[in-house]
């Protein structure tokens, strides 16, 4: 299950952060997201030379914690997507697929002429679309 999703702008400014849990652990999840920003910086500035997919948007598993796994994605426009999940046995392909769908939703949201670049995404349509994608993610990995 995905417990938290965040979109962080190129100056590390939060654009969208949403948790999907009933319990009151938003602060803890935000903390995890915050920590992952450093990991992303490190990955991007010191890429592994051997890796063939050196500039791929999908950054893979950033770091595992006891209860969570954190995945990252960096777009061409230096916007970071961060995903926190409780599924510990999860396939990279599923996450990749999720990020692709999420990226499409994000692009549609920022293409809205009423969206101000660099400001938080407040579109309700975007929120609904994201929660649909999040729900479908749980289903596809279960089947």
């Amino acid at each position: 299950m995905i417990v938290c999703l965040a979109v962080v702008g190129h100056e590390n400014n939060p654009l969208y952060i949403q948790s999907f849990t009933e319990s009151d652990d938003a602060l803890k999840l935000h903390h995890i997201v915050h920590c992952s920003l450093d990991v992303i910086d490190e990955r991007v500035n010191n890429p592994k030379k051997s890796s063939p997919t050196i500039n791929e948007a999908f950054l893979g598993l950033l770091y595992p914690t006891e209860n969570y796994k954190v995945y990252g994605y960096l777009t061409n426009t230096k916007v970071k997507f961060i995903l926190v999940t409780t599924d510990l046995d999860i396939r990279d392909a599923d996450v990749r697929n999720f990020f692709r769908k999420f990226h499409a939703a994000y692009v549609d949201a920022v293409s809205n002429p009423f969206h101000v670049p660099g400001k938080r995404i407040t579109s309700r349509t975007f929120g609904e679309r994201v929660s649909t994608i999040v729900k479908s993610f749980g289903l596809s990995s279960a089947s």
Partner: protein, 175 residues
């Protein structure tokens, strides 16, 4: 899903934007009108670059981003690539389009062209028509600047129309 836009609609819209800014809102301040039109282009380029770079790996350097503008970005906008790219390898790039679509259907006042004698009024009128054409180029300049700025490259873009319908865009990257 590929969404398309009628070409003549875009051209009419562009002409109308330029007209309403230059002779409507900012009739007496052409430099202010130019800035407003450029800002509209900037936002368009900013949003388009977000969409068109979606399925691409990240760019490693400026040249790669400029090449993206020349090839993929231009193809999406105008169904053709930039015809010629020159650079001095020190942050200046010249993108030449031999038949720029948004100027292809534009004509210069025939009365001005027909008059062969170089008199003051006609020379002034010619200058005016060049100025009017220049106004139409702030929008594409803004698009390029917006797209590059979203990719993390701060630059200044200007256009040169010394031999129509060819048009070159000069990109100067800020060091």
């Amino acid at each position: 899903m590929v969404r398309e836009v009628s070409e003549s609609c875009v051209e009419s819209l562009l002409a109308e934007i330029v007209l309403s800014y230059c002779s409507g809102f900012y009739a007496n301040k052409p430099e202010l009108a130019a800035r407003r039109i450029e800002a509209i282009g900037f936002q368009v380029g900013h949003q388009l670059s977000e969409r068109y770079t979606m399925d691409r790996p990240r760019f490693t350097d400026n040249l790669e981003a400029i090449k993206f503008i020349c090839k993929d970005f231009w193809s999406e906008l105008f169904k053709k690539q930039i015809d010629n790219l020159k650079t001095n390898h020190r942050g200046t790039f010249v993108l030449q389009d031999n038949r720029f679509r948004w100027l292809a259907h534009m004509s210069i006042d025939p009365s001005v062209q027909a008059s062969g004698n170089i008199q003051d009024p006609s020379a002034m009128a010619e200058n005016k028509s060049a100025q009017a054409t220049g106004m139409h180029l702030y929008f594409p300049c803004g698009i390029i600047r917006g797209a590059l700025s979203n990719l993390g490259i701060e630059c200044a873009v200007s256009a040169d129309i010394s031999n129509l319908p060819a048009c070159s865009f000069v990109i100067r990257i800020k060091a």
